[in-house]
Symmetry: C2
Subunit: 271 residues, 2 copies
Amino acid sequence: MDNRPIGFLDSGVGGLTVVRELKRQLPHESVVYIGDSARAPYGPRPAEQIREYTWQLVRFLLTKNVKMIVIACNTATAVVWEEIKEALDIPVLGVVLPGSSAAIKSSQSGKIGVIGTPMTIASNIYEQKIKRLAPQMAVLSLACPRFAPIVESNEIKSSVAKKIVYESMAPLVGKVDTLVLGCTHYPLLRPIIQNVMGPSVKLIDSGAETVRDVSVLLNYFEINRSREVEDKTEEYYTTASVRGFKEIADQWLGEAVTVQHVDLDKELEND
Amino acid sequence: MDNRPIGFLDSGVGGLTVVRELKRQLPHESVVYIGDSARAPYGPRPAEQIREYTWQLVRFLLTKNVKMIVIACNTATAVVWEEIKEALDIPVLGVVLPGSSAAIKSSQSGKIGVIGTPMTIASNIYEQKIKRLAPQMAVLSLACPRFAPIVESNEIKSSVAKKIVYESMAPLVGKVDTLVLGCTHYPLLRPIIQNVMGPSVKLIDSGAETVRDVSVLLNYFEINRSREVEDKTEEYYTTASVRGFKEIADQWLGEAVTVQHVDLDKELEND
């Protein structure tokens, strides 16, 4: 038993899709979330910078005494998950393996699509993981650089969003039976993506899959929190404006949450 | 990636229900199975003896170079899972936590039934685990000492089996909405148990739940086997007669498997 919170990090608001799933599957667990919206999106940045930023978010979460860290960002997972997992003595989960594993189980045709940020797609991490587990699968990858910014600016219901999604995804339509949403921002665009791909295509929400793994690892390491929800805590931090983050968080999580601004350089200077 | 087999141990044939589930969910993984049918059932034995026997099975599996061990026996899990997990440097799974966790998720009424061997029920392990995770749940436990012997002697389709199950389970009928099959032998009696309890009661197969956890831990520790099934291996060992074990194994796994007799004392004497 361990009543400390689970830490989530993301380049911005995308990881909230993972938290929403956590609140559904494990509503009694406490949460600390840090979104680096001031520097989002991570996707187009060089690997070394993504590594440095992600480590800052990890160090911030460690100051909050978390019992587990979920790297709720595909880009950060692609670049630095293994290194962080090796370095820390608490469990560290990424979102790529759970998504890959679910896609393999789902696909009948053996043709899996993956959409993600430019860095996630360039890293080829989904294709690598999927093909290592299931060499017979064909993976069609597509970078969608404009999706995460639409979500960060909360334009997901605009006609521009619809147009961008339709145009971007055209190369995958009709070619796969399973599509991995390889960026935690993308479930916010899910209805549009499902429309483009058609109802028979199974969308894999890598964040939701990750929460199933969180549950198993809490059991395995015996660090569940007691299901007495009264005194559980939820803390949300953003490196950008509280208002923008809160607008999306309230909407996505379906309740009013308290969001605090954090200046990482200041917060970590004595660390 | 790790192409070594997963090791399963049980007091007898019950753990085959876990292997069947593994073959369904993860058909590419290699298997080494040891069933201690010569000394089954473990349920009525004293804890110290169960501890000693289980450690022998673990040592046997280690001689087979397994990458993970599944204690596919609730009784052994109740007595010695934590000790074995601490002692080994490969992942060791028991069947109790996955079953408890699934029961909590399933129950709407908050009333969960658990059936198991006398030792499992006396250990109170399911009630402890369930109530630690979810204190508001009520757990009704029932020892069913006659079930595992029916399965070991392959009398699951006899009218005697039906009579025994109906009589034994009467105290739980109408009292719970979820029932944990807290012994890996019991899924072989599932149709009868479902009939007694009624169609609205959700039966939790702790073994099947455990395989979901196996899959997650293979991912987390990055020890999956490549999904090239050609050269995968399956080895089944029993401490009792090959014929009796094979009859049940073939029937339950739906294919003819090769079963070898093993004399544990001899096998381990130079260990």
